[in-house]
Amino acid sequence: MKRSSMLDLLVLVVRRDLVLAMRRRTDVLTTLIFFVMVVSLFPLGVGPELEMLRKMAPGVLWVAALLASMLSLGRLFSADYLDGTLEQMMLAPQSLSMLVLGKITAHWMVSGLPLVLLAPVLGLQFDMSARAIGVLIVGLMLGTPVLSMLGAIGAALTLGLRGGGVLLSLLVLPLCIPVLIFGTGAVGAISSGLSIASHMSLLGALLVMALVFTPWVTAQALRISME
C-alpha cells in the first residue's frame, strides 16, 4: 500500500467530481441552458437597437454568469454532506483546504468554464466587436474562478440549512460585486478605446487572493457546519 501525497489527493477529488458530473449531466446542462436563456432574452426584450445592445452586453453576460454560478453552488457540498463523504474528507490525512480546492476546481470546470466558452457565441447576439469579445473572455476566465471560490464559502456556511439557497445568494452576491465591476469595466474600456490593463490586473489580483484565502476559509466553515 502506498501513501498518497497532497497533490494525488487534489487530483483524486477533481477527477471524482468530474466523473460524478458526467453521470449527472442534467445538473450541468441546467446551469448552461439557464445562462443561454437569460442572455438571449435581453436582445429579444430590448429590441434591435444595436448601440444599446452593445452597451448592455458585458453587464448582461456577467450578471447572467453570476446568477448561473449561484444556481449550481447549492450542490457543491450538499450531496457529500448528506451521504457522509464530507465526514470522510475531513478525516483525510491531508489538509481539508486541499480537498476543498479540488472541489472548487471541479465545480469551475463544470459550471464556469463552459460559460466562458459559450460567451463569444452569445456575444454575437449583442453585436459585440471581436476585440470586445476577446476582453470579455479573458475577464470571465479570470473572474469565474473567483465566483466559484467565493461561492464555496457561502455554500459551506449554509450547509444543511433549510432555505439555504436564498441565504447563499444573499451572502455571496454582494461579495461578487468587485468581480462584476472590473469584469464589465474592462469590456467598457476597450469599447471606448481605453487601456484594460488596470481592470485585468485587479481581476488577477482578486483571483490570486481568492486562491490563497478561500479554500482555508471554506474548510473552516465546513468544520463549523459539521458540528
Partner: protein
C-alpha cells in the same frame, strides 16, 4: 495510546455525558453502550474531532488530537451511520475513492479482492444505486480490509447486515486486533470477537 480524560459533551442545552475517563491500548477493543440518545454517536464523533467537547482532553500517543490533526487522521478509520458511497459510482470506484481519501493508493486488484471477500462478487462494476441496503453497507465496510489505520471507530457497523456479513466483520475485527489494532464501536446487536476481552463503557 488513546486516553480520554474528564470528557463532557452536550447537544444544545442538553448535557449528554460528563466526567468521562477511559483508555484504550494497542490490541484492545471497547464497546460503547447506552440507550438511544445517550450520546454514543456524539462520543464517537468527538473522538474523530468533528465535535468539540465542552470539557476534557482526547490524547493520542501523548498529544491532544486537536494539535495532531492530520497525523491522527492518518491512523484513524471512521465508519459512521452514513455509508459515504455515491449512488452514481460503482462499488469498485467507490472503494478506490474512499481508500484514496484516507490516503491509501489502492491497486484495482486489491480493491476487487476486498469486494469479493465482502460477498460482492459480480457486483463490483454495478452502480451502487441498484444494490440493496445491506450490499451498500458491505461496500462501505470493504474499507476495513484495505486500510492500514491503527484505530477503527465504528458506529453501528452491523446495521442492515445479514448473519454471514456479521460473522465476516467479527473476523475482520479479530484480525485487526491480532495486528495490534484498536477498535471502538457501538452496536445494538451482539458482537463476539473470539478470544478477546472486550472493554465496555456505559453511558447513562
Amino acid at each position: 495510546m488513546l486516553e480520554v480524560s474528564n470528557l463532557a459533551c452536550s447537544r444544545g442545552d442538553h448535557r449528554l455525558f460528563s466526567g468521562l475517563d477511559f483508555q484504550v491500548h494497542l490490541g484492545q477493543i471497547m464497546q460503547v453502550q447506552g440507550v438511544n440518545g445517550s450520546g454514543k454517536t456524539s462520543l464517537l464523533r468527538s473522538l474523530c474531532g468533528f465535535l468539540t467537547p465542552d470539557e476534557g482532553d482526547i490524547v493520542w500517543r501523548g498529544e491532544s488530537i486537536r494539535d495532531l490533526d492530520e497525523e491522527y487522521y492518518a491512523e484513524l478509520l471512521y465508519l459512521g451511520h452514513l455509508n459515504a458511497i455515491k449512488d452514481e459510482l460503482s462499488a469498485l470506484e467507490n472503494l478506490l475513492i474512499s481508500a484514496g481519501l484516507s490516503g491509501v493508493e489502492l491497486e484495482e486488484k486489491e480493491a476487487m479482492a476486498a469486494l469479493r471477500r465482502m460477498g460482492l462478487r459480480g457486483r463490483e462494476m454495478l452502480p451502487t444505486k441498484v444494490l440493496s441496503q445491506g450490499q451498500r453497507r458491505r461496500v462501505a465496510l470493504a474499507r476495513l480490509m484495505v486500510s492500514d489505520a491503527k484505530l477503527w471507530i465504528l458506529d453501528e457497523p452491523l446495521t442492515a447486515l445479514d448473519v454471514g456479513a456479521v460473522a465476516l466483520i467479527q473476523e475482520l475485527i479479530a484480525e485487526h486486533l491480532a495486528r495490534q489494532g484498536m477498535v471502538i464501536f457501538t452496536t445494538h446487536q451482539p458482537l463476539q470477537v473470539a478470544g478477546m476481552e472486550m472493554l465496555t463503557l456505559s453511558l447513562s
